[in-house]
Point group: C2
Chain length 506, copies 2
């Protein structure tokens, strides 16, 4: 009755959306509830309580601490807890015997000293890089040790105390493990598999998005970049996904770590399934993604090639990007379906369309470096270069076709030579004129809407005439992306070999 | 006696190195030891034990769980624990009263149901993105609630039980907090500050390293890249540091989260010190680092501009890179010294040297796009372009100087025009010849040492003639890096404003 109608409704609505988004979350919550209920029943039902007394509370703590989202993490936590408790118990019993040998007066001193040492040593060891994943285990050692040795000192019989505790922890551990595995298990391996495939898709998406934007937007809005530099490109969902891919290395690693603890399950039926290969493939994928980030940088750069120049190479750029994206997607799909197929034809297609792009850029490089007065109306762009070069990419590598191709090229380049030689003098004249009138040919320093920019800071002045070279940068980065795809194909092939994916068409 | 001499020695040696590397680790270990010793003394010394009984064990557990490396994290953990315990206690007491109203038979059912609900609800809520940092608190709620309600059911008087527990947790919390703050405190804020400054330095280092390698290595060893793609560039320490910077977003965020819990200390004397600004500056820094990653990509690309072409632009590239690196370092130094100074003159220098690079590339773009037969002996490179353009960068923005500069340019470009026009026909002739002899002008597919590569996979064929354009890509990326530096300067300025750094020369 104290609630106000509207915010409460909104809250329920967003909670509902949150559930619908991933039903596993609700399942997970119910599983935790079930596990703590089961372990509490032990105490409520009198029997166990009479045997173990207050120690039974350790079962509850164990469930609460051990119960993680995925099976692998739960097992990992359980292992840490079990081993930590066991080690602590052994140590506590061993040290607990010492005072009986040395006499009563030395007892508190020995116990105090041992607590200090255990605390210091475990804290030191857990900082060691290769032991960081077992951090929780070391924490368990400290407090289990203190607990056993202190309550042994006060209540006598440390062996009895520690054995009772171990039994209770074991009960809690088993309840947590059983509920986690038997009731709608969530496998870290499954998640890792999906995560990796999603990364492939978001890489392909963001490549296509980036190229599409580069070719479509007549006026790349450079001024916006300064406001957008802090993470928000609201109209580029794929780019944002790709960027999360870049930051996902820690997530992949922790999922792979957890997956190693899982028994064979579902589609992953091999023992020693190579989960760590997933991390490696993810690293190569990130290498490719760096190029997309750089492409995105060119897209939002302040120095920009004019629209009609970009559009002149449209079909080649588009083709290379599409082929590359298709290859990336097909790699992702193969991993998803756990099958192994040779990517020869796709790779050939990607390579040949990239080579075509290279040649086109190469042949028409005069467009990029000299200072044509580009016509301002974009309805009248350069003649599409693809009209000149129209070979089917698939037969491209064929020697015979290649000769035909070269002849085509020769013709076109002869034509170009004619056009060029007459315009060359004029071109140079224009260039020197531009250099004379240098200050007026500057691009305006970009303005900011928010008044956020400190006006005292000098702005970078962009030389307009090099703007066309930005197209070269774009295509070079695209080509470099394709080159890196070779490594990606290799890494995926290595994974599919080690994971024994099914051959399809070998 | 069972140890073998050598591995044991090696182990001790590496442990010693590990300590020497960062003495704080040893201090931290001793602090944990001290804290658990102090809290154990409470039990060993009889007094506290007689008041609280076995509940005193919660003090130990609290210390073991709460004691983190930095002050901020410890406070954060302590807050989670305190609030979690408090909420759980209130809930448990409230629910504990219910059965007394409903009668004895319903009691276990109500308790069981409430345990299930608490477990499910807290587990669900902790998945909510904005509540993820408080994950530990929700865990505490579950087991504290179960503990209190169950032991209340078995032993009666849940209020007494929960109050005792809360006191014990408070004792443990105070011990942990006092030891952490009073004995050689390690501040997350201090670490964040240092981390950010280090990122600036490693960015500058890796930019310089990258450019140096690009200009020095006569034969950029492209074949190596395929073996190195998996993370290892052993001869490029700065690059590796820079890459860790890219992956450090999570670390910066968690440090900033922890720093917010810390009281003013050391050099950070303001309340509400803007720690979250550090994360923002780190994000802009990463934007700059993406360009360095792309530069590094060009450096190790398979398509490579010939050495004597690279060396022709040496002084301009070097100059721009050095100025940019100096600016980055000086920004880092300013943050380190917590002073605010205008970067106008440095920015001017960077901009003018970058503009010089742009112009030089622009003027000599014919070198990049046409197919000169470059002399093979590198002892005879292109005449250094800087001989033609020798203006002091500082006076560059001056209008008068600018005119002189333009005149220089005019002269040189006239000279170039003469040289060019006569060679142009020959150039085009060569180009068409190259296109005819296309298959022979391919770069050899790179070979691998390890036999790791699958020989069936087709290789990307690089068009040699576009190789020179890779230089353009390199310089464009360098220029884009400089453009992004504007944003970095802005972000640092924003930080220094919000953190009230001392003005120096405004």
């Amino acid at each position: 009755s104290g609630f106000q109608g509207f915010p409460c409704k909104a809250w329920i609505w967003s909670a509902w959306e949150f559930c619908k988004d991933d039903v596993d979350r609700v399942i997970f919550s119910f599983k935790v509830g079930l596990a703590v209920l089961l372990v509490s029943l032990l105490i409520l039902l009198r029997g166990a309580y009479e045997i173990f007394g207050t120690n039974i509370i350790w079962s509850i703590i164990t469930v609460a601490i051990m119960f993680e989202y995925t099976v692998g993490e739960t097992f990992n936590r359980g292992f840490n807890r079990a081993l930590g408790s066991l080690l602590a118990a052994i140590l506590a019993i061993a040290v607990g015997q010492l005072p009986q040998l040395t006499g009563r007066i030395a007892k508190p001193i020995i116990i105090g000293l041992s607590i200090f040492l255990i605390g210091a040593i475990t804290s030191f060891v857990k900082l060691w890089p290769s032991l960081v994943p077992y951090e929780h285990g070391f924490r368990v050692i400290i407090f289990t040790y203190c607990f056993i040795i202190v309550s042994g000192y006060r209540m006598g019989n440390p062996i009895r105390t520690s054995m009772d505790r171990l039994y209770c922890i074991a009960i809690g551990g088993f309840v947590a493990a059983f509920v986690n595995v038997l009731v709608f298990p969530m496998w870290a391996g499954e998640q890792l598999h999906e995560e990796l495939v999603n990364s492939f898709n978001s890489l392909a998406d963001s490549l296509e998005e980036c190229v599409k934007k580069y070719l479509e937007d007549e006026e790349l809005n450079q001024a916006e970049f300064s406001e957008k530099v802090m993470d928000e490109f609201p109209d580029e969902p794929a780019y944002r996904k790709c960027r999360t891919t870049l930051n996902s290395s820690a997530k992949l690693e922790s999922l792979a770590d957890a997956s190693k603890w899982e028994p064979p399950h579902g589609r992953f039926r091999n023992f020693f399934y190579p989960w760590s290969e997933y991390v490696k493939v993810g690293a190569v994928l990130r290498y490719c993604a760096y190029e997309v980030m750089a492409l995105h940088g060119v897209l939002h750069s302040e120095i920009q090639a004019p629209y009609n120049l970009r559009i002149a190479f449209q079909s080649e750029i588009q083709d290379a990007a599409n082929q590359a994206a298709e290859l990336v997607r097909s790699l992702g799909k193969d991993i998803w379906n756990m099958k192994r197929s040779l990517k020869t034809s796709l790779l050939n297609r990607v390579h040949s369309s990239t080579e075509r792009l290279q040649r086109v850029i190469d042949m028409h490089s005069y467009l990029l470096t000299t200072h044509y007065d580009l016509p301002d109306n974009s309805s009248n762009p350069f003649p599409k270069i693809s009209h000149v070069l129209s070979t089917t990419p698939n037969d491209f590598l064929d020697q015979q076709e290649d000769d035909v191709w070269s002849t085509n090229h020769e013709k076109s380049s002869n034509r170009l030579t004619q056009n060029l030689t007459e315009s060359y003098y004029e071109m140079m004249r224009k260039q020197s004129r531009m250099l004379n009138s240098w200050p007026s040919s500057e691009v305006d320093p970009f303005k900011k809407g928010g008044g956020f920019r400190i006006s005292i800071l000098p702005q970078m002045r962009a030389v307009k005439s090099t703007a066309a070279l930005s197209l070269t940068t774009f295509t070079s980065l695209l080509i470099e992306f394709v080159v890196r795809l070779d490594h990606l194909v290799e890494a995926v092939d290595e994974l599919s070999k080690m994971a024994k994916f099914n051959h399809e068409d070998l």
